[in-house]
Every structure is written in C-alpha cells, then in structure tokens.
Amino acid sequence: MKVLVAVKRVIDYNVKIRIKQDNSGVETDNVKMSMNPFDEIAVEEAIRLKEKNIAEEVIVISIGTDNVQETIRSALAMGADRGILVKTEKELEPLNIAKIIKYFVEKEKSDLTILGKQAIDDDFNQTGQMLAGLLQYPQATFASKVIKENGSLLVTREVDGGLETLKVKLPCIVTTDLRLNEPRYASLPNIMKAKSKAIDIFQLQELNLDLENRLELLEVKGPPERGGTVKMLEGHSDLINVLKNKEGIL
C-alpha cells in the first residue's frame, strides 16, 4: 500500500499570534513555524503503518514557498520515505489545495491519503473532504484509530457521546483527530539521514490546473480585549456588602 500524507507549514501552536497593523493578516516575520499538529499526527500514523509492514512507501507532500522544504524534511526525519514540494508564492484556498493533492494522488496512485482534519492557522476543515469529493473516494474524517482489514480500513471516530467505527474501502481519504497517536521525536541521526532523502520539486504552473480563488480575505481582527478589573474583598462582611448593595443579588 502506498500512503500519501499532506502537510502544511503553520505558525507554531505555542506562539502568541500577532495581527498585522493593517488587519490584512498575521505577522510571520521571525516567527517560529512548525508542521501543523494534525499533519504531524498524519505523518506519524503513516509511518506506523509502514513499521507494521502495512504500507510500503510513505510520501509527504506540501505546497508553498521554498521554506516549506523544512517542514517536509521534518516529516522525512520522522521516517517518511520521500517528499514532494509544489512551489508557489500564492495563497491558495482549500479547494485549490485539494485539486493539487488530487493531481498527486492520481500521479502516485496512492491507496491511502492522510491529512490533518484542519490546519490550525485558518481552521478551514475542508481540504480532506473536498479531496474525497473531487476523487470520488470514500472518506473517514476525524480518525482516532485506524486499522487495515483486507481491502478496507476500519476507522474509529470520536462523535458526541461515544465512538463510531466506519469501514471504508481503499483507496480512500482519512483525516486525523488529536487522539489518533502521539507523534515521535525526530532523532538527530534521523534528521541527518533525512537530508539525503529525495524531495521532488514542481512549479505550480507545470501542473496546468484551474486554480482560481473563489474566496477573498477581507480582514483579520483580534479577539476583544479582556476588560474589567479585579478587586480583592476583605472578608465575609465585605462580600455580603457587595452582593447586597452593589450587585443587588441578596
């Protein structure tokens, strides 16, 4: 089985986001970037399938500028076999990303394509679903457990009030939820080895896809400032006084 994993480079989950002065987006200069956490889980799951001899090859794809190579290398250091970089300076919306990934699912003939359920920067939660739609493949979203059984996958999903298990025929699309696995640390010897693994680079124009954006980003605003001040009360009598006379509760 061939597994394709899509990864996105995003602002690190632990970084405090700063919004650009003109509200056109968020600051990314000198900001720590990392692999989208859900994608890291996707990479880990693919590598585990390989370690169990279920997958023969794990290919990692990412779309963006040259910097994105660093994110692909991270996945290679974890244990993926090779990478694909689709180079573009353009901001692409989920449907367009799905079209690009579709191109490579078909090119690579991957049996299983794993994506994060969403990217933590735009929180769209659309790419996996659109990809399945475009390919007319079955999909299992928000996976918290994946088992291969003959020509199908048994995928457990966390739903309101319990767990649901789906059987999906391969080839298919899976998107990962937080509890699917705990991604491994990349060891330095593996990081070194990853340097010699191949990354195939494509220019976006080469693919000849119709990638017109249908969405337009108007503005990005921060949450409202938290207001109010805290006053420490001096004791029971003070508390009763406030409840009675200020809040009118008693």
């Binding site: 989950y13 990392s34 956490p37 705990e182 640390y185 010897p189 070194m192």
Partner: protein
C-alpha cells in the same frame, strides 16, 4: 525558678508586641489566625513555627518604623518573601516570640530603563513579574527558577539563588546592581546608584546578598537587564557514562561557550519517574540509555543556533561519546523535553519521602563522587537514587527516595548517617554541602562543621556588628 523566668519573659514579650501594634498603623499588621497560619509552614511541609503577629509594610518608610520599634524593644523579626526557600529560613521559632515581616505588599516595580538596561523594584515583587516587565520592554532578566511565580526578588537576593541560568549569567549576585536595606537599627543603607562604576572601597551590598534575612530587610533592588533573547535552540542527548558527559561538556564549551545557556543532567531513573507520574509527557528514546543531557543555546540575534547544536552533537556522535540525540521539531516538543527535567522534583515528591542534597563538586570529580556515594548507599536499590541538576555548574541534586518496603522509622534513622557520609565526601572532594539553597534553619550544623574557622569568625563578627540585639532572623544561619 527557670519556669518563672520563662513566664516573665513571655509576659514581657507580649507587652512589647502590644506596644509595637499600638505604635503602628492598623493596616500594617494582622493577627488573623488563618492568615498567620498560612505563613508558618516551610515549602516541604516538614517544619512549622509559631507567631502572634504578621507585619505587612507597603514601603521603606513602613519598614523603618517597624524595625526601629522592634530594635528598641528587642522584638525578633523573621523576614519573609515568597516563602519558597528550601532551608526553613522563614519559619519562626516554636516559642512564638518572633514576629513575621512579609514583603508581599511591597510589590511595585518602580522604574525600568530600557536604554541603561536596569530596573528598580520593591523587594516583594515576584520574580515572574520582574521577568515579564523586562520582556514587555524587550529586555531580559535572566534569573530562572521553577518557583518563579511565587518567590520574590528580595528572597532571591537574600538566598543568592541559582537556577538554570547560572551557567550563562552567574548566581543572583551577578545581576544585582544595588540594594536598599533597612538595617537592624532602622537606618537605611542604600547602594542604588546611577553610575556603573564606583570604587570607593568595597561594596556593602555584597554583605546582604545571600545573608538570608539575618542582616536587615532588603526593601528595594536595582537589577541588571539584558537584551531580549531572540533565538534559542536545544537538544536532549543520550550518553552512556558520566565521563562521556564531562567530555561532551568540553566539546560544547569549546564550540559554543558564548551561547551555552543550559546544560542539565538527568538519568534513566529520572525519566522513569516522569514516565510513571506524568503519562502525558512523551519520553524520548524510550528511555533506553543511562544518562541524558538537555542543553540549550541562546542568542540576542537571529543566529542559526539549530545548526550549531547539530554540529556539536555530530561531533559527539562521531567521537562515540553521544549515543543518540533528539532535536525538538516544534515548541510543543521543546516544552515537553524541558518538562522531563523541570518536573523531577515534583515527581519525586509524589513518589514519597526522600533525603535531598543540593551539593556542588568540582566538575572533574563528579564521577568519583557518584561512584563512592553509590557504594555506601548499596542498601538502596538504584531506582531510589536520583542524581540530576545543573551539571555545568558542578551542581547536583542527589536525592535518595525511601524504598517502598522500608519503614519510615528506619528511613529517618538512616537520614543522619547518609547526610554526614555524603557531606563528608563532598567536603573531601573540595565541594559544598549547599550549592544553591543556603543555610537557614536546617543546615546550621553543617555550616559550622564544614566552614573554615576564619570564615566563621568574620561572618559572626559582621552579624554582631550590624545586629547587636540579634533581632534579625535570630536562630538562622548563626547560633
């Protein structure tokens, strides 16, 4: 006869405390039992004292007023900051005659000068507030302690605290530029100046740094700030032996001395503790090695420190000193790796009783120390012996947990013997039985035993000179 004398003294003490209360503004003290009680424990919950009054000054003038009355009526004062000290320095005597003075209401940051890289603050500011204020101004205050949300800058200075930034910035004394201290007679000694250089003889602020509340109350502090750290990189490295670790430290220093900001040691036993008590923290390498080093580089500009880290480790790997290494790929991993070190004390606390040692040893003698110490602890299974800490400072925490099957009584009985064996060994190797935590109440015997006569005489004389009535934290450090 003796009882009668005691009775009279007690009456006198109550009378004096009453006088003190009458002289002071009411908002400067409290007798509320609940509040008093919360100020009587030590961090580890082993010791408890007694008192009838807690003083809560808000500024230097309040402290002067309090201390003058206390000196006149010989009322002993126990200064308290955040009460995170680990040697019982803030615990009053059990006879209840000592009163508490907490700096908790003296918590204003007074001035920050971005251009001149300093900050002036009241001594009761929490270390965390100081660090955050500096960061808000793109400045960095380096002192880093696990207790930083609770401890105060006054307490840090009074104990000359260490922590994980010592390697790059030194102990607290290196980042203090000036102090305002209310002396035991109520006079103010002020060494906060606007100038960098002043060689009019020796600098009296050094008397108070590390004096654990015995020579006066620190009321204001002037601190040295640094540029904000722009870049950090770290790795956790697995090694086979303590000798390899010392070699690896050498490689690291040779290649990156000016950036090296942490070099902390942990062991298989330590990682096992974390694995057992914090199952949400992923453990690197499946914990299959004997020793681990977490080391960190930091710089004031956007250098490629990751590359430097990789080069250092590659050298270690090539020389067969390093067995394996993990470089975090995101901040989550970064934080989790640090947690495997930072949570060790807590994990050991959950495991149960332990005998703790905070010792420093010349770095090249650490292998001898571990070898010998483990030998006379042969009655303990190795899982109960945890060595971790600031290796590059030669500072080890060498803690022995009570084995589950051992009775409390036997463990307590062994405590003294183990302590004296370890401290004798440390002393023989030219080390110190107290690397970071001070003397306080619980290390007085060792202080006397392992300090040279000449040093003891000088220290005792300074105490007598500054505090002739022995009202500042009596019974701590000195006898």
């Amino acid at each position: 006869m003796i009882d009668y004398k005691k009775h009279l003294l007690r009456k006198l003490m109550l009378k004096n405390i009453k006088i003190l209360k009458e002289k002071l503004n009411k908002n400067l003290w409290t007798e509320n039992n609940e509040i008093l009680d919360s100020h009587l424990y030590d961090q580890r919950g082993n010791i408890k004292g007694k008192t009838s009054l807690l003083l809560l000054p808000q500024n230097t003038a309040d402290v002067v007023e309090i201390v003058k009355v206390c000196d006149q009526y010989k009322i002993p004062i126990v200064p308290q900051g955040g009460r995170t000290g680990l040697c019982g320095g803030t615990i009053p005597n059990k006879n209840g005659k000592e009163i508490l003075l907490s700096t908790e209401k003296m918590n204003n940051i007074l001035e920050i000068s971005k251009d001149n890289f300093y900050m002036i603050a009241q001594s009761g500011c929490s270390l965390c507030d100081i660090k955050n204020k500096a960061l808000e101004n793109n400045r960095f205050f380096p002192l880093t302690l696990p207790s930083e949300t609770a401890c105060t800058i006054g307490g840090n200075i009074s104990t000359n605290a260490g922590g994980s930034a010592v390697l790059k910035y030194g102990m607290t004394k290196e980042v203090v530029e000036g102090l305002e201290v209310v002396l035991p007679n109520g006079e103010i000694l002020n060494s906060i100046k606007n100038i960098e250089k002043d060689n009019r003889g020796f600098d009296p602020k050094y008397l108070h740094i590390g004096s654990e509340g015995t020579l006066g109350i620190i009321t204001k502090v002037k601190l040295r700030l640094f540029p904000e750290i722009k870049k950090k990189a770290m790795a956790i490295v697995a090694l086979d032996s303590i000798e390899d670790i010392i070699n690896f430290l050498n490689i690291t220093k040779n290649q990156c001395y000016e950036y090296l900001s942490a070099f902390e040691i942990n062991s298989r036993i330590g990682l096992n503790l974390i694995k057992k008590y914090y199952n949400n923290i992923p453990i690197p390498f499946n914990n299959k090695y004997n020793w681990y080093i977490i080391f960190e580089l930091s710089s004031y500009d956007n250098l490629d420190l990751d590359l430097k880290i990789k080069n250092i480790i590659s050298k270690g790997l090539n020389n067969k000193i390093v067995s394996d290494a993990v470089v975090p790929q995101n901040l989550n991993q970064y934080n989790n790796i640090w947690k495997t070190r930072e949570l060790l004390s807590e994990a050991q606390k959950i495991k149960g009783k332990s005998i703790k040692h905070d010792i420093s040893i010349p770095i090249n003698k650490i292998p001898i120390f571990l070898n010998k110490a483990n030998k006379f602890l042969s009655a303990f299974h190795e899982d109960n012996i945890l060595a971790f800490g600031h290796l590059a400072d030669g500072n080890l925490h060498y803690n022995i947990s009570k084995p589950e099957e051992m009775s409390d009584t036997l463990f307590n009985k062994l405590h003294k013997q183990i302590n004296s064996n370890i401290f004798d060994l440390v002393n023989d190797l030219g080390g110190s039985f107290s690397a970071e935590h001070g003397i306080g109440l619980i290390k007085k015997k060792e202080f006397k035993k392992y300090t040279s006569k000449e040093e003891l005489i000088i220290k005792n004389n300074f105490k007598k000179l500054l505090d002739p009535n022995n009202i500042m934290n009596p019974g701590k450090v000195y006898n």
